[in-house]
């Protein structure tokens, strides 16, 4: 696992692996895979909470479990920046990873494809390919989204591209 920081590595090894190789068009095996996805996400969320490093919420937006929506956040200079998170499970999943989208940041950073899809590092896809079908949604969040937020949010905040919601006139909620 060259190119990953030690904390990402150690977190990753604690997320339960999956075993069913099935995509959303596969019927019953997909339901089995979906159960594994839930178990792995539950374990990862619990782990984050107990490590005081809770940083996302995600749940299936349809009964088939092919679309997921939620939130993710990052703390920079003691301020919390929160964003909508969404993605579709691709038809060729798990051979291909879900493309994680932060629609609110679309157009604000170069490290993004159109539609707000985050641009992953050169290390992500090889590792995902090597570990198919053992990696699932939780692994994609840990390996894809967490390092992306850590790298990009400070830059976006410091350059003034994003403002904390307390500073933004439109928001009243704390």
């Amino acid at each position: 696992m060259e190119g990953w920081d030690p904390s990402t590595k150690s977190t990753l090894t604690q997320i339960p692996l999956l075993s069913t190789k099935a995509g959303p068009r596969d019927g019953a095996p997909w339901t089995q895979r979906l159960k594994e996805e839930y178990k792995s996400l539950i374990a990862y969320t619990q782990m984050n909470k107990s490590n005081d490093n809770d940083w996302f919420r995600i749940s299936a937006a349809n009964p088939e479990g092919t679309r997921w929506t939620g939130k993710c956040w990052y703390v920079h200079n003691l301020l919390k920046y929160e964003f909508d998170l969404q993605f579709d499970i691709p038809v060729t999943y798990p051979a291909t990873a879900p493309e994680l989208e932060l629609p609110e940041l679309d157009g604000k950073t170069q490290k993004m494809y159109r539609g707000g899809k985050i641009c992953l590092t050169v290390h992500f896809k090889p590792l995902w390919a090597k570990n198919c079908p053992r990696f699932g949604i939780a692994h994609a969040l840990c390996l894809g989204l967490a390092p992306w937020l850590a790298a990009e949010i400070p830059i976006l905040v410091d350059s003034g591209m994003i403002k904390h919601k307390d500073d933004a006139a439109s928001s009243t909620e704390s």
Binding site: P16, S40, I42, M47, P90, A95, P126, K130
Partner: protein
Amino acid sequence: MEVELKEMMNDLDSLMQSLTDPSHRAPIDKLKLRVERLANFGNFGPSRRTKVKDMSAEVVDSNPYSRLMALQRMGIVQNYERIREFSVAIVGIGGVGSVAAEMLTRCGIGRLLLYDYDKVELANMNRLFFRPEQVGMTKTDAAVQTLSDINPDVVLESFTLNITTVQGFETFMSSLKNKSFHPNKQGSGVDLVLSCVDNYEARMAVNQACNELNQTWMESGVSEDAVSGHIQLLIPGETACFACAPPLVVASGVDERTLKREGVCAASLPTTMGVVAGLLVQNTLKYLLEFGQVSPYLGYNSLKDYFPTMEMKPNPQCSNSACQQRQKEYLLVKPARDAATKAKMEAEASSSMEGPLHLDNEWNISVVDDTEPDRIDVKSSDALPEGLTHELPSADEFQTVCTPEAPVSAIDDIEELRRQLDALNST
């Protein structure tokens, strides 16, 4: 403008009638001629040419197909007009796909199916085809606008969707199966699918659809550093599919470690994309119109102007089950196909020996050989020709790794698991 010119004509007419001295008529006639020419000139711009019923080989300025039909007269292509029977699907109408679509449109292809979910942006203007005034339109709409102006004979169908999503994929599959253009066509409703997408996920989706439909397709790609590219022919069961091995990329020769990726996702050049689109459509024309040699894989390294080629056998252990199914079917029909090919080659060879000597005799004869061309085993990296590398590693041998079983929930009901995650999410 038109009204103005008409009035000017009327004025000139009345002037002419009011004249008593006929010697003044000549300059007025001249003026009238010029006004007429201006009026005609104005008509050319916005009006579209009408559809043509048959492709004519007649060499006149007004025939859009004369130079293409000349290919037939020169003996390069046997029956160019067949191009009007073909349907080609182009997935991804970006820097490569849009140019490929324009080339096929100008060639008079019968029908084009266009797929993309993106909009035209100013950031696309370093590439060919789209124009600044089309910014904000969907790429599919903008492409239909331009292409139907260039050649109204082409039947254009456009789909604004993302083929990697479950719903988009279903529409993609059913559109490929639709045979309304040629109800008697064998197989699917299209003759060839061209993948002009810019990401692995979409390529895998095209691969999935084509394996399931037993549909021949061609892959194309330009590297993220914009200096190399490739095209690849994929025939389900016969050649390696896109999932048989990790994707091949042309090594640019630039050291990965010195390539600065910080701050950008991808670079692009109109040149590399234009070259790749040209190679792709050339291979398409050769495949559809059956001339020359169709390349199974052709790479392009622009820094060294190096064009590696090769051929890949399918992987019997391919992770794609539809690919495995196609491989089994291919092995069943292979002996009969090989015999037919050999007989055809021998017949061609003997007839060309007897007949007048053609320039391409030597090529025909060199192919009459029952040995298989060197086809590489996609699994091993050592066998790759110089200048090509695998983009991704293969999946590790599937094995049960020491999964931390302890924290994993023992619950096996999906609703219960969903509730459990929701509960965690709400705290």
